[in-house]
């Protein structure tokens, strides 16, 4: 055959090893960084993972959800429920909470998948609101004012901080690895096909319904884990904090400004988001106006986001998920 | 010369569909465009009607460069298209589908009464939704809609597609009435014999280029065949 199929790219050959190295460096952080830096990273990791899940849903499966905060909140409350009530070791609760979120996503999908496009987006939001209002009415978990995670008091502070941090690192790396692995697989091929042309994909035998459902469940799991970890660090949860649409707002900004439909994009976007937040912190709501304006302008002028634009200009691709055909010599 | 194109090229993204089309038509002429599927006929019409962006100075209508103008402006200048597949509006009744043709506000001999005189069967169908009538009737409405804009140039894109021969004959029998009012016509047709019979001149498209042109009556079947298939 005169043609060859490649997966790796020029940048991925340096990029992937560099990323692994970087992860190792980050892993050593607890030994030389202070508590607030660790907390900042945990927050960063949770938001990045949440954004990657939103990216997977919207950028690859074409499902724009404004309701993923439902699973973020469920993850948080599941953690509290398992740790406080069932006395499951708190760190084990984190992945378990993700599973609970995915379980709840099953019946939820039956309802929301009846809607499409923009109406699917708002429908998922309604579902998140239902969870928020329902939990606000349950006094056992503190109702509207929320509750605290007291069992963590039994654990030594540095153990608590360091383990939470490493879990966060695992989450961030895991979400990137999840997208990378998923998209390079046959399942990923199906996703690309659906993204490009749903009808054509269906005619090739791709089961659109089950593919979208599986993505929905996987992202629910991811958002649940992110939520559980966030509130593990926060030690306090309330319905408004857990199910606030602001989580999705931040995810949308991160993904849009960074670059939707690529793995590197949300990483870039998350860095920009946090940089903006730290520098504009004194301006209060002003920073959100800037963020909103940035999202609007980016979507209109640079729909591929900052990373997408860079990748096009300089032919970069750190986490390659597509196959390239080239002539062999 | 009413309409002319000079070295017209057209692209769908990176894909080039037209490679330098030279075309012209005089007032009152009836010209056919024939060619296989994918030859570029529809692309050419899209460029003429403004649905596809063309460079400004490649298309001239009545002395004006119209390339790149928005489709709605070109329609108001007096180019009306009967699009392939009829494309009536399902949310509108037959009556409304016809009357929407008057939107461009051009004055001329074509009124709703005259159009109904041309297609009397439509009188009974006026209150039905646009997609609740037969293909042949839809084609009548589509032509009527285009006529009501009182255009200088009428473009008919494959109006015989999917219709029974008797319906096609019925449609083409109305041609003289249009020509009597001084209409200029471009007809895109799959049926080559029909195209030759009803038109004065003919262009054959093949893979985005004009492969043959001439007076309809003078072109031999074998010449057309060669130009059509590109052998």
């Amino acid at each position: 055959m005169p043609y060859e199929i490649h997966r790796s790219t020029r940048t991925s050959r340096i990029g992937v090893p560099l990323t692994i190295l970087g992860t190792a460096v980050l892993g050593s952080l607890p030994w030389w960084a202070d508590s607030s830096t660790l907390r900042l990273f945990v927050e960063f990791a949770c938001m990045l993972a949440y954004a990657q899940m939103w990216n997977l849903l919207a950028g690859y499966a074409g499902l724009v959800s404004v309701g993923q905060q439902a699973y973020f909140g469920i993850g948080g409350y599941a953690l509290f429920g398992l740790a406080e009530t069932a006395h499951v070791p708190p760190f084990l609760c984190v992945p378990l909470s993700g599973l609970i979120a995915a379980l709840i996503a099953v019946p939820t999908s039956r309802v929301v998948f009846r809607l499409h496009g923009g109406y699917f987006a708002i429908g998922t939001w309604v579902v998140a609101e239902v969870f928020r209002l329902a939990i606000a009415n349950v006094s056992v978990v503190g109702g509207g004012s929320g509750t605290s995670l007291t069992v963590m008091g039994d654990i030594a502070r540095s153990t608590r901080e360091w383990t939470t941090y490493w879990l966060a690192l695992a989450l961030a790396a895991g979400s990137i690895a999840l997208l990378y692995g998923l998209l390079r697989s046959r399942f990923g091929l199906a996703l690309f096909a659906i993204r490009d042309n749903e009808r054509a994909a269906a005619s090739q035998g791709v089961d659109i319904g089950s593919t979208k459902l599986r993505i929905y469940l996987v992202t629910a799991f991811g958002c649940g884990v992110a939520g559980a970890l966030y509130f593990l660090m926060n030690l306090r949860i309330s319905p408004d904090a857990a199910f606030g649409v602001n989580w999705t707002a931040y995810a949308i900004f991160i993904v849009v400004i960074g670059g939707i439909g690529s793995i590197e994009g949300p990483i870039v976007g998350a860095v920009i988001f946090f940089a903006l937040r730290e520098t504009l912190a004194d301006f209060g709501t002003g920073y959100l106006i800037v963020l909103g304006a940035l999202a609007v302008v980016t979507m209109l002028r640079f729909p591929q986001g900052l990373w997408g634009w860079l990748a096009d200009r300089f032919d970069l691709n750190v986490f390659p998920v597509r196959r390239r055909i080239s002539k062999s010599d | 010369m009413l309409l002319s194109t000079r070295h017209l090229e057209a692209f769908y993204g990176d894909f080039q569909a037209l490679f330098g089309i030279d075309f012209e038509i005089d007032p009152g002429e009836v010209v056919a465009i024939i060619g296989a599927n994918g030859a570029g006929k529809s692309t050419f019409l899209k460029a003429l009607s403004g649905l596809l962006k063309a460079p400004r100075d490649r298309i001239w209508f009545d002395g004006r460069a119209i390339g790149g103008m928005p489709a709605c402006e070109i329609a108001r200048l007096g180019i009306s298209m009967v699009p392939e597949g009829r494309r009536l509006f399902p949310s509108l009744s037959v009556r409304e589908n016809l009357s929407i043709g008057t939107h461009s506000g051009r004055r001329g001999p074509w009124t709703p009464e005259r159009v109904l005189g041309l297609f009397p069967v439509l009188r009974e169908l006026l209150s039905l939704p646009g997609n609740a009538i037969s293909g042949g009737q839809q084609q009548m409405v589509a032509i009527g809609r285009a006529l009501l804009a009182n255009p200088r140039l009428l473009i008919c894109d494959e109006i015989s597609l999917g219709l029974a021969p008797v319906a096609v004959k019925g449609l083409y029998d109305t041609l003289p009435a249009m020509l009597a009012e001084g209409m200029t016509l471009i007809i895109v047709e799959q049926d080559v014999g029909l195209a030759q019979r009803v038109t004065q001149r003919l262009y054959c498209f093949q893979e985005g280029r004009v492969s043959l042109q001439g007076r309809s009556g003078e072109l031999s079947r074998s010449a057309i065949s060669r130009a059509y298939f590109g052998v």
Partner: protein, 291 residues
């Protein structure tokens, strides 16, 4: 609950539904013409409310001048927003309109927060808010809710008329069917879309002012009203203004029932009613579109 109590609850629910109908009609219009779901819709309602409050406080004028100033201003704003920003998002898939309107939503909410702070405000109309009409047998309805309900009814009738019997409405319907074919008729779809949004914003302005008269408003209330509007449209069925109107009434009644049972459950029961309709009749109760 006594029959009288049930009737009263029903009445209050229906009247609240009138306000929700005013909220929802604009959303229904924009989706009907452009297939555009405007996530900023609720924030635009709140914007209308704050504009009314600002004009009333700033210019010290009565209620009628507030309407006469705010409604045309919002009409113009809608036209400019559609023409300048939202038109550019159409025809490129579902992401751009959603994401851009989401960004606009965040901007409106936070700009209002900057200008008005998070304090709850309302519009005073010199006693109009407290007047009521007695219906006998101990039942009474507030004058303001009645007027709001009538305004909603009027807007629904007017929009149906606009859609079904005017050339502009004909252009609206044709544009929603086939964007290319409508351009071939000489119709400038960019203008048509801008007019659709302008009309939607004008109705939203009326809704916002009625809202501010009826209750207090804060800049963060937008998303909640978006959800009510959306639920009303879905319950009623896509493609029909009367459907949206009825859907809004049903939502109002559901919320009233929930609230009656337990004040913390009002909004929640509304959401649950919406989800139930979605499960049982996904196309809504009176759908009219062909999708």
């Amino acid at each position: 609950m006594s029959l009288l109590g049930a009737l009263d609850m029903l009445l209050q629910g229906v009247l609240t539904g009138g306000l929700y109908a005013l909220f929802a009609i604009g959303l229904s219009l924009m989706f009907g013409v452009m297939r555009l779901v405007n996530i900023a819709h609720g924030d635009v309602i709140v914007l209308g409310a704050f504009l009314g409050i600002a004009v009333s406080a700033g210019a010290g004028v009565g209620l009628l001048p507030v309407f006469l100033l705010v409604v045309p201003a919002m009409f113009a704003l809608g036209y400019v927003l559609q023409r300048g920003v939202l038109n550019a998002t159409l025809g490129r898939g579902i992401l751009p309109p959603l994401l851009v309107s989401f960004g606009v939503s965040i901007m409106i909410e936070n700009i209002l927060l900057e200008l008005f702070s998070a304090d709850a405000r309302s519009l005073k109309a010199g006693g109009l808010e407290t007047q009521s009409i007695s219906l006998g047998a101990g039942l009474a309805v507030g004058l303001l809710p009645m007027l709001t309900f009538s305004a909603a009814l009027l807007c629904t009738v007017a929009l149906e008329y606009l859609f079904r019997r005017t050339p502009l409405g004909r252009a609206f319907r044709a544009a929603s069917d086939d964007l290319e074919a409508v351009q071939l008729q000489g119709i400038d779809h960019r203008k048509v879309f801008a007019l659709a949004t302008a009309v939607a914003f004008a109705v939203v302005a009326v809704a916002g002012i009625c809202l501010a008269l009826r209750t207090t408003v804060t800049p963060s209330d937008g998303p909640g009203y978006l959800l009510y509007s959306f639920e009303a449209v879905i319950i009623g069925g896509l493609g029909s203004f009367w459907g949206t109107f009825i859907g809004a009434l049903i939502l109002g009644v559901a919320q009233a029932a929930g609230f009656h049972w337990d004040p913390g459950w009002g909004v929640l029961v509304g959401h649950l009613a919406f989800l139930s309709v979605l499960l049982v009749r996904p196309r809504g109760l009176f759908p009219r579109t062909r999708d």
